[in-house]
Amino acid sequence: MEKRVVFRSAWLPFVLVAPQLAITVVFFFWPASQAVWYSFQLQDAFGLRSQFVGLQNFYTLFKDSNYLLSFRTTAVFSVAVAGIGIALSLLLAVMADRVVRGAMAYKTLLIWPYAVAAAVAGVLYAFMFAPSIGIVTFMLRQFGVHWDWVINGNQAMLLVIMAAVWNQISYNFLFFLAGLQSIPKSLIEAAAIDGAGPARRFWSIIFPLLSPTAFFLLVVNVVYAFFGTFGIIDAITQGGPAQSTTILVYKVYHDGVKAADIGGSSAQSVILMAIVIALTVVQFRYIERRVQY
């Protein structure tokens, strides 16, 4: 039997959800609609002259091969950040869950990086991997690796992926650990008695039971890779060298905030918004079907 709460008054439910609605309208719908409106305009920086140009901002963007290139950059970056981030934290969570002695210490240490702001994480990595003076660069040189991400695009990409994954791992870890701990021990013990090895137990029992958590994290991590990583990019590479780390959200920031190109930047954020909405819909429609709640 489903439990239902019945409100006697007609307006009370509306009053109760009003604060939440107000926040959504003020902080999401209003700015989003502004972005859509500006994306159809050509404006000078001070907003003294603006003209309606229809889809011209979008046309300019899609004519620009470099903008199209940044889609590929974003795809590589997001898949890597979400994929590596989830896989690595799952591994860490499973390991931490098995540890008996000193479990608290391991867990605390693994959760720690989440307290580091994205921009600070970026600066940390920029220092550790700084060409010629970074400590990691120094070690790499001992192995004969020439590390110079300031001019080598692939290395720059690798560096921002590492920093972004590192910054997000704790969050994923926390959720996986909670998920693991909510799996009844009796299930795993029963499987063990039946003769299933650790790998078999993981793939047949633990992983399916973790799938709601994994799905949630997939959605969150994709959104993180698309939007949340901008601080790291800004602190380390500013989109360079050439354009090897210019992901879509960074270009929105650069064009809008640094270069005061309101129309072009708004058009880009409208496109970005559409992509993330589409991705989320796909995730919920197709991937969620395979999730076992």
Binding site: Q43, A45, F46, L48, R49, D64, I151, A259
Partner: protein
């Protein structure tokens, strides 16, 4: 009882806050952090102490782009400051914002303050004036790109401690330094500013049509000329041979030189303070190298740095305070102190002469190199400065393409052709938005 006490306290506080003779406050938003910020506040305090009618209130608003963004947002909300420090690449944007700014020549005229554009260094005036010679903003902190060498490194390699004059000599010297085991031989800051903008002026070749964009919004970039291609290709070849270490798009090269890592660097004159403070190099300041097969080279350098723009929509009384402050800032002794303290160039000829007379350059050889480079010859249409719309993005594009060339992903010709094509699209967009 308590309420009455509070009211009394408020009244007393109010009496102190608003003296009978009200001071007019002038807001100044700037981007000078650290030691430079202290020097800037020193200027404001000195002005505030000298007279009682006006009070300059400074606020640090972050980096140059951040200050500009803050001011644009403030203007849109009708809360703009009186004075805004804007970096040189934002000049075209400010100049086109006709309703948002008050040209400095007009401000000075209305306030009845004496103002002579000829008193300033011609390269500085040119950068911030319209074609009729009216100064639209007041030059404040101006620098130029200089060629630094570390004589210790030269001596260690058995070379005479003399800076190479031409790029050909730079390459030859670089090869010798490399052969002697020097890891980072040459590096550069601000790739577009040094190797495209200053490079063009120094060789008297245009960066764009229409007098580098000063003559109209319909200018196009011309940075894919054979001379430009040759120079960038030379740098790419140097990078391949390990003679040129790329450092990044802004001032990352400063640290590379100051720490004693690199033997030669083309970085801002403003990096001198940090170089002295670091104390790890036997530094020497020189004018930029040039290609001796280019006719007329070297011409003169162009400035970087920022100028002060006056925002519109304030009271005449307040503008009078701004004008008085600008007169104060242009005073030779004020300029001289700023020049010596910060390493920026003195913006008036009188200040330069005064510094010379004070014996500062004799005691500190090389400190006048920046001025000498800026005034090497009377500026031409190619070397007066530049004014391109959307140039914040424009510079990013140039730097992206330069990086592709330095990494060996593109030839110099392909990279510069792409920079011109992409840059011109931005110029057309700016033209359409500012018609």
């Amino acid at each position: 009882m308590k309420v009455r006490l509070l009211a009394a306290a408020a009244a007393v506080a109010g009496a102190f806050a608003f003296p009978a003779h009200a001071q007019v406050e002038v807001q100044w938003w700037h981007s000078m952090g650290g030691a430079l910020g202290e020097a800037l506040n020193g200027l404001a305090n000195q002005f505030n102490a000298e007279q009682k009618d006006y009070k300059i209130v400074t606020s640090y608003k972050g980096s140059y782009p951040e200050s500009m963004t803050a001011a644009i947002a403030a203007f849109r909300a009708a809360q703009a400051p009186h004075i805004l420090q804007v970096f040189e690449v934002g000049t075209a944007t400010m100049m086109s914002a006709k309703g948002a700014i008050k040209p400095v020549y007009q401000l000075m005229k209305e306030a009845g303050e004496p103002f002579d554009p000829k008193a300033y260094l011609p390269t500085v005036t040119g950068y911030y004036s319209d074609l009729k010679g009216n100064m639209l903003s007041l030059p404040f902190n101006s620098s130029t790109a200089l060629f630094y060498i570390d004589r210790n490194k030269f001596k260690a390699a058995g070379l005479p401690p003399v800076a190479p004059k031409t790029w050909k000599q730079v390459v030859a010297t670089a090869e010798k330094l490399k052969a002697a085991g020097q890891d980072c031989v040459y590096t550069t800051g601000w790739p577009s500013w040094v190797h495209i903008e200053n490079f063009s002026a120094w060789h008297n070749i245009p960066i764009g049509t229409r007098q580098n964009g000063m003559g109209g919004l319909d200018a196009v970039f011309t940075i894919n000329s054979p001379t430009h291609v040759k120079h960038i290709q030379m740098l790419s070849d140097m990078a391949k041979k390990g003679l040129f270490t790329y450092a990044g798009r802004t001032n990352q090269a400063d640290a590379k030189f100051q720490s004693g890592e690199c033997a030669m660097a083309t970085i801002s004159a403003g990096a001198l303070g940090g170089t002295i403070k670091a104390g790890k190099t036997d530094w020497q300041l020189n004018v930029l190298p040039y290609h001796d097969d280019v006719k007329g080279a070297p011409q003169n350098g162009i400035i970087g740095g920022a100028s002060l723009w006056v925002m519109s929509g304030r009271k005449a009384e307040e503008y009078k305070g701004v004008a008085k402050f600008f007169t104060f800032l242009s005073r030779p002794e004020v300029q001289m102190e700023w020049h010596i303290k910060t390493g920026y160039v003195p913006i008036t000829l009188a200040a330069y002469e005064l510094t010379k007379k004070s014996g500062f350059y004799d005691k500190n050889p090389g400190r006048d190199t920046a001025v000498l480079q800026l005034t090497n010859k009377a500026p031409t249409a190619n070397s007066k400065g530049l004014r391109f719309g959307n140039f914040v993005q424009g510079r990013t594009i140039i730097e992206e393409e330069l990086e592709a060339a330095f990494a060996g992903k593109k030839t110099a010709k392909v990279a510069l052709d792409a920079a011109v094509k992409r840059g011109n699209e931005l110029l057309r967009q700016f033209e359409a938005a500012n018609k």
